[in-house]
């Protein structure tokens, strides 16, 4: 296991020096930032940014947080490795209150496999798609947090760039064509279906050409397709898929990235390079398209205020989208322009939300910009080394017992 806490870089050895007293309200946010080039993931306490921990991984990582924020998954596709970290912040809702446990972040361990890519966390299970392995590694979040890397494998119909979502005893998986492909190309995705744990279908294949992008919100799992967005209703049976076709008056394009709100049943997807679509799978019109003034760099939903999403465009502007009215309510120039020309993975800003603050990586400024969600004013700027790229924020408030 190469991941480890690097004590030399640990700025504060006793970062949690003043633990909250019992039954005290506590609020804590922690950022995890992956460098664009260096094989590092840095954890930073948002309100005490000198408290940092650096984890060495195998390569540049895409970061995912579990629903409660306790688990961080760092996917290093080019290095065929997935590292798991304990964030050190675990929130647990009890209806009338929430508890929060605060500790130092720490490395759990890693798994390896051929080209890991999409990660879907659902129902306490983490599914890592290994695009060239033909399977998804299935791990239980609770066991991971106990330090147990107990990976089961869900076999897909054929190796492809897709996704698997654990749905209790069943799995929803993308399906790819079995027709021969040239050289080492991966086969095109053609559909999605429901499977037993051994990979045997328990329903039909539902067509979804060029499937890409998936997200959960409420009762639905959505995936982007060439012909529309396909919706799986988790309350239904194994064939509870419905294709939501793009409206006829939409320009020719498709959705390939989806985000699902955690506090309202609604999705936000891209639609081509310079527009986004708000998707409500329960009521027509399913899609509301919002044109952007420039090409989109990154976008994110506000987990606490589901009526808002934030979009960063290549001109260096941040936009607040009202998801209910489908209007851009505010646009503010934040950084220098970041052109979307060039390689898709060139270093460009990424966004995270920590309650009423937006965190924007600014690779060319080697910093994190802390922006108020209310008026987009820059509250703080945290200097970093290297090229800060992917970022997630975990935390919140709760009682400490």
């Amino acid at each position: 296991m190469l991941s480890r806490l690097t004590g030399a870089i640990l700025v504060s050895a006793l970062a949690i020096g003043h633990p909250a007293r019992a039954d005290e309200d506590a609020t804590a946010w922690r950022l995890f930032v992956a460098d664009h080039t260096d094989p590092t993931v840095t954890a930073i306490d948002l309100d005490v940014p000198e408290k940092r921990w650096t984890f060495e991984v195998a390569g540049p990582a895409k970061l995912y947080a579990s629903a409660g924020g306790a688990l961080v998954t760092a996917v290093q596709s080019d290095n065929e490795r997935v590292d798991f970290l304990k964030s050190g912040l675990a929130r647990d809702s009890h209806g009338d209150h929430a508890d929060i446990e605060i500790s130092e972040p720490e490395a759990i361990g890693s798994i390896e496999g051929p080209r890991p890519f999409h990660v879907v966390s659902h129902g306490g299970m983490v599914a890592v798609n290994f695009d060239r392995g033909g399977y998804a590694g299935i791990l239980e979040e609770g066991l991971l947090l106990d330090g147990k890397l107990d990976e089961r494998r869900f076999p897909m119909n054929v190796a492809h760039h897709g996704f698997v979502a654990a749905m209790g005893d069943h799995f929803v998986s993308s399906i790819a064509s079995k027709e021969p492909v040239a050289d080492d190309a991966l086969p095109p995705r053609v559909g999605v279906g429901t499977f037993a744990a051994d990979g045997m279908p328990i329903g039909s294949m539902h067509a979804c050409t060029d499937l890409h992008g998936e997200a959960f919100s409420g009762n639905f799992l959505l995936a982007g397709c060439k012909e529309g967005v396909i919706a799986f209703d988790a309350r239904g049976g194994p064939d509870a898929f419905t294709m939501l076709p793009y409206p006829a008056d939409f320009p020719e394009d498709k959705t390939g990235t989806l985000l699902g709100s955690v506090s309202m049943q609604v999705f936000l997807g891209n639609y081509g390079a310079d527009s986004v679509v708000i998707v409500d799978p329960t009521a027509e019109p399913y899609f509301t398209r919002v044109e952007l003034p420039f090409r989109r760099v990154d976008f994110i939903l506000d987990p606490a205020r589901p009526q808002f999403a934030y979009i960063f465009t290549e001109d260096g502007s941040l936009h607040r989208l009202n998801m209910l009215t489908a209007t851009i309510e505010q646009s503010t120039q934040i950084t220098q322009p970041y052109s979307m020309d060039g390689h898709w993975r060139d270093p460009r800003p990424r966004i995270a939300v920590a309650d009423d603050r937006l965190i924007l990586t600014d690779p060319l400024d080697t910093s994190l910009r802390i922006i108020s969600t209310a008026d987009f004013a820059e509250i703080d700027r945290i200097a970093l080394q290297g090229l800060p790229y992917n970022v997630i924020a975990v935390g919140g408030s709760g009682l400490t017992h």
Binding site: G95, G237, D239, S263, M264, L324
Partner: protein, 328 residues
């Protein structure tokens, strides 16, 4: 329910409403209102008649415990003059929906003034009967109990017909304040509805009186009938807690089976929930759907039949194997 009654708390609540609810509608314009779930929506529609347009967020086949607000719901809330909620933390999602929507109307808590059953008082449903258990509070493993998200009180207060009268009092007061020009009609509708409820109460009491005292224990899936049980002297056992967010554990079910055997339970009420069914269950689910009706609208009949409280529908509840009344 021998006589119509309005507790002091309810009177206070209505008076408070009279100060809080602005008049928002002209007599010839229906008041746009939102009710969080269908039973509450039915009540509002009965009182408001043609003078209200009611949007129900959770329909008759929905489950308010696990409802997921949608953009359409947020828009409906924003446009409403009145938002009727049950209260007692029944709608755990309502605050964030109100915040998201920008709602600037009046929120009416329909249960205001009822005498709530504390959660601890009603905690003797299967799996929560801690009598005789000696584990300490800190040993209470929430994982085993499936994370029950509920407030301090059982929120299913409308299952008491006494409480239903208080609900319609509160609804009438809110509508009257919002649309005073139609106050007389609201009052007439309230009186007619109250008479129906009182008649139903008498009918249920008669039915229950015909049940042998040793046969007044009922098993249901979701513990939503404490108020009904309190009012009519029935005992309800349920493996699933006050909120359908939780799942019954194997230990809960084993405990319930023991209770059923010990008490000679002969009636099982089953409410269908939206869960991911096993493969090949579609046909069975369709059968269930055809026979399904809202349990909350159904009162018991001794053996072999069921009937509905409010006359919305009246399915015959069959008894396939046990000779007991089985309501699906």
């Amino acid at each position: 329910m021998a006589k119509r009654r309005m507790p002091l708390k309810s009177t206070t609540a209505v008076l408070a409403l009279s100060l809080a609810v602005p008049a928002t509608a002209q007599s010839n314009e229906p008041v746009q209102v939102v009710a969080t779930f269908s039973i509450l929506g039915d009540m509002v529609a009965r009182i408001g008649g043609e003078h209200v347009t009611v949007t129900m967020l959770v329909g008759p086949d929905g489950d308010a415990h696990v409802y997921q607000p949608t953009p359409a719901a947020a828009r409906a809330v924003k446009e409403a003059a009145l938002l009727f909620v049950n209260g007692l933390e029944f709608e755990g999602w309502i605050d964030r929906l109100v915040d998201a929507s920008g709602f600037d109307g009046t929120r009416v808590i329909a249960s205001e003034g009822i005498e709530p059953i504390a959660y601890d008082e009603g905690e003797d449903h299967a799996g929560h009967d801690h009598d005789g258990e000696e584990h300490a509070e800190e040993d209470h493993d929430e994982e085993e109990h499936g994370h029950h998200h509920h407030g301090a009180f059982d929120p299913h207060a409308w299952q008491s017909l006494d409480n239903a009268l208080i609900y319609i009092d509160n609804i009438t007061a809110a509508l009257t304040q919002s649309d005073p020009a139609n106050a007389a009609e609201f009052k007439r509708n309230q009186a007619a509805y109250a008479a129906e409820i009182e008649a139903l109460d008498a009918e249920i009491r008669g039915i229950v009186a015909g049940l042998p005292r040793g046969r007044r224990t009922v098993v249901t899936s979701h513990d939503a009938f404490q108020y009904f049980g309190r009012d009519y002297g029935l005992t309800f056992l349920a493996p699933q807690g006050l909120s359908t967010e939780s799942e019954a554990s194997a230990q809960d079910v084993a405990h319930l089976i023991g209770q059923m055997r010990a008490e000679g339970v002969s009636a099982v009420l089953r409410r269908e929930h939206h869960r991911f069914p096993p493969a090949g269950a579609d046909r069975q689910r369709d059968r269930c759907n055809r026979r399904r009706h809202a349990l909350s609208r159904c009162a018991l009949r001794p053996r072999r039949s069921g009937t509905c409280l409010s006359g919305h529908d009246a399915p015959q509840c069959d008894d396939a194997r046990t000779g007991a009344g089985v309501v699906r």
